[in-house]
């Protein structure tokens, strides 16, 4: 099991424990803090999510010396109460071994004290999850206690300007395997370590039309380990101008786009596995649930509702999310703008609502059934959803290309940092702009401090699960009153 933590929280941990690793101190003291965690209990990619770092208050670290430290019961108590208050799962104590550099492990003393301490936590919170972390200067060891025995954790995944991975074995980072020969020419920007990480990534690709099909191709050519495809649409003739690998025969048979793309990647012989999620519509709660089993989200959709869900998943499960968008602005036959955009959403970054890329009004409209939506639009206060937005492959390629470079950068940095919140290219003006947005402190997606890293504590804005629910996109003109309910 891994631990996921935002870069901001990891910096807090480093700050709170820095005294242990200050150079020149002969007897640097042990230090400590508490990580409050939520659980992502995905069936085969479970992990702990750091929701908050609890700093000790004066007098809460006792007997603090170079060889030991005591967390006063009051400190642990505050952690427990905070876990209950926030509806989290539990916490991990963090302490340091100041003399440990590239290797660190729990001491005999830690081993002799942790069992009773953990038993105490579980007696107080039987359904919780508790454990401990020990930090050396360049090594980390972490364990959970379950049924009275330690279960050692695997990796610390830190999400921020980069996505970085630290082993939790207490040993120095192992040398990662070299990239396969087929990726030799990309080693300059995705070197040995990054290439290996790429091959281990499980990436959610939501939408596989104009930009999505290009993204799948780019991810496979970059050596992504697995791409999990979320797509419910079928091929038709109008897709042929921009959906990679789609053939006339696919359009004729109304083949599922996701299946066509999966087969194309399979035929290419590239090592990427493509998994197609049944149903494919992330507005359905069971489908959206699969997103949290991924390491990275790539959104290639043209609707606000799925974008909102992706933002929520990114915040709650600390998963970086790249949103791709293109827009052709035209009045009559005159082109006014050709824009390609990539936004990077993640912990401590503004969501697409704060970036005004998605709007409350649009989300509301998309949440209505067709008949209700028609009535609302008929009132004249809302514009209807554009059904046939113009789209061309050449413009889509520009946004897909930027997004793929950003993904490579997250694993091995080469772009200017800090990354902007979005990068927008105005093709008509030959201008590329860095976009920065301000987070609305009242935003329920990214301004809500309790949502970040909270796992399943908050429900995603998916449709309520309904028996025999039929999507209105699958069946245009579905029965009136069959509204898609938003679970805000």
């Amino acid at each position: 099991m891994n631990i996921r933590i935002s870069e901001k929280h990891w910096r807090e941990v480093e700050h709170l424990t820095s005294l242990s690793f200050v150079g020149g101190l002969e007897f640097a003291p042990e230090t400590g803090c508490i990580l409050l965690v939520a659980e992502n209990d995905h069936a085969f990619r479970p992990c702990l999510l750091v929701a908050e770092v609890l700093e000790p208050e004066t007098g809460e670290l006792l007997e603090q010396g170079s060889g030991g430290i005591t967390f006063a019961s009051r400190f642990l108590r505050r952690g427990l109460l905070r876990v209950r208050e926030r509806g989290l799962k539990g916490f991990l104590t963090v302490h340091t071994h100041p003399s440990a550099d590239k290797r660190v492990s729990f001491s005999l003393f830690d081993d002799s004290n942790d069992p009773e301490l953990m038993a105490n936590f579980y007696e107080l919170e039987p359904a919780g999850l508790f454990g401990s972390v020990v930090l050396g200067r360049d090594a980390i060891c972490a364990r959970l206690w379950r049924n009275g025995a330690p279960v050692y954790l695997e990796q610390l995944v830190c999400v921020g300007e980069q996505v970085s991975f630290r082993e939790l074995s207490g040993k120095a980072p192992k040398e990662l395997p070299k990239p396969q020969a087929i990726f030799d020419r990309s080693a300059a920007i995705t070197g040995a370590g990054a290439s290996y990480r790429m091959s281990q990534l499980r990436i959610a690709l939501v939408g596989t039309s104009g930009t999505g099909s290009l993204m799948l191709e780019l991810l496979a050519r970059a050596g992504a380990g697995e791409v999990v495809v979320f797509e419910f649409d079928s091929a038709d003739e109008t897709n042929l101008n921009r959906v990679l690998h789609l053939r006339q025969c696919d359009a004729d048979t109304k083949a599922r786009k996701a299946d066509c793309l999966r087969d194309a990647i399979l035929e290419s012989g590239l090592p990427t596995n493509v998994t197609v999620v049944a149903g494919g519509d992330i507005r359905d709660v069971a489908v959206a649930d699969e997103l949290r089993g991924c390491d990275l989200l790539v959104g290639c959709v043209d609707r606000d509702w799925p974008r909102l869900i992706l933002c929520e998943v990114a915040q709650q499960y600390l998963i970086p999310y790249l949103d791709l968008g293109t827009e052709i602005g035209a009045v009559a036959d005159a082109i006014q703008s050709l824009d390609a955009r990539v936004s990077y959403i993640g912990p401590d970054r503004p969501c697409l609502k704060c970036a005004k890329i998605i709007s409350e009004e649009q989300i509301r409209l998309e949440g209505y059934g067709e008949a209700e939506r028609a009535r609302v639009v008929g009132m004249g206060y809302s514009k209807d959803l554009p059904l046939r937005a113009p789209s061309v492959m050449d413009l889509n390629m520009r946004t897909a290309s930027i997004a793929m470079l950003w993904i490579r950068h997250l694993l091995q940095p080469f772009l200017k940092t800090p990354l902007p919140h979005a990068l927008k290219e105005s093709v008509t003006n030959f201008a590329t702009k860095e976009m920065y947005y301000t987070r609305n402190p009242e935003c329920r997606v990214c301004g809500e401090p309790l949502r970040a890293g909270s796992g399943g504590r908050f429900q995603l804005t998916t449709r309520q699960k309904k028996e025999n629910f039929v999507s209105d996109r699958d069946q245009p003109g579905a029965a009136e009153g069959q509204a898609m309910e938003i679970t805000l």
Partner: protein
């Protein structure tokens, strides 16, 4: 049929009058069990708070256990037993014999008819005790008021390691300030979290060198203990040193361990060949071969102001002291 009706009538009268003599059918069936027809007979019983509450009345089947009767009685008295739904509550059930109350009835699985056949009256009392909960454990506070320390001890928590809290509070209750406790009150006991990399189980000054070596190994130090010619040494490898001025970034050192360790402290160390400062090693004494390797003895000592202290120093602190040599600090 008439006989049965008559019998039933007699039993019903008996069932309603608390002090009516026990029918012979029950008295006589001590060994064989209550007749099936009587098992379901509901009899009137008196229940009160022990020792001198007002008596209330309930009906119970002859086949009910005393635990069930205790539950019915508690309901009638308006105060549930504690712990809730426990097969054996912490509260006591007593029976009145004449003007005296019995000792708490130990076996609450006994059916009512057996208890009656054995001479119990139909007057019961519940002794509500000062049951409180700490974490998941229920117990009885030995007295009231009581200090948190006493309460923790009563629940077998070591007050040196645990503090007592009210359920929603982050402030520990002062260990020696008496508090008033109420029946059913819940507390939480939180242990201190103790961690340490060289804080081994043995107190400083009583530890063995083996324990110290294990502790530094656990902390990531590459160390091994070996004996040559009856003398024990600890070899520490991969010790990071500043380069420059040293010719390499890591070195090995060897520490001789006196047989009297830890009372007899560690002092000085040997430096493995291979690192130097411009070809020379400061403070180096004679070169010796130990464990098949050549070492130079480094004169690096504790000062008189800060001598080895067995109750504070150990192998880990000595390694830190040795590192001071390479960093040009510490005592010598």
């Amino acid at each position: 049929m008439e006989l049965r009706n008559e019998g039933t009538q007699v039993h019903h009268e008996w069932a309603e009058v608390l002090d009516h003599p026990l029918p012979p059918e029950i008295e006589g069936c001590k060994a064989g069990g209550v007749p099936g027809a009587l098992a379901g007979l509901r009899v009137r019983l008196g229940v009160q708070r022990w020792p001198d509450g007002a008596e209330v009345y309930i009906h119970a089947k002859l086949s009910d256990t005393l635990r069930e009767i205790m539950g019915h009685g508690a309901k009638a008295l308006g105060e549930e037993l504690l712990p809730p739904d426990a097969p054996v509550p912490l509260d006591f059930l007593r029976n009145r014999r004449g003007h005296e109350w019995s000792e708490p009835i130990p076996d609450l699985k006994t059916p009512l008819w057996v208890a009656l056949a054995q001479g119990d009256s139909r007057h019961f009392a519940i002794e509500y005790r000062l049951a409180v909960r700490i974490n998941a454990r229920w117990g009885v506070a030995p007295h009231d008021p009581i200090t948190p320390r006493q309460l923790l001890q009563a629940f077998e928590f070591n007050p040196a390691e645990y503090s007592l809290y009210h359920t929603h509070s982050a402030d520990p209750l002062p260990a020696d300030t008496p508090i008033k406790v109420h029946r059913g009150e819940c507390f939480e006991a939180q242990k201190d979290g103790r961690y340490g990399w060289n804080t081994v189980a043995s107190p400083r000054g009583l530890q063995t060198i083996e324990e110290d070596v294990e502790a530094v190994q656990a902390a990531g130090v590459v160390a091994r203990l070996f004996t040559e010619g009856g003398q024990r040494y600890v070899e520490v490898g991969n010790l990071e040193i500043p380069s420059p001025p040293w010719s390499g970034g890591v070195c090995s050192i060897l520490i001789a361990v006196p047989g009297t360790y830890p009372a007899g402290g560690l002092d000085a160390f040997y430096l493995g060949q291979g690192v130097s400062q411009g070809g020379a090693v400061p403070n180096q004494q004679a070169a010796v071969t130990i464990g098949g390797r050549t070492w130079g003895l480094i004169s690096w000592h504790y000062s008189q102001d800060r001598p080895w202290n067995p109750s504070r120093d150990d192998l880990a602190s000595h390694i830190a002291h040795c590192r001071g040599f390479f960093l040009k600090r510490g005592v010598r």
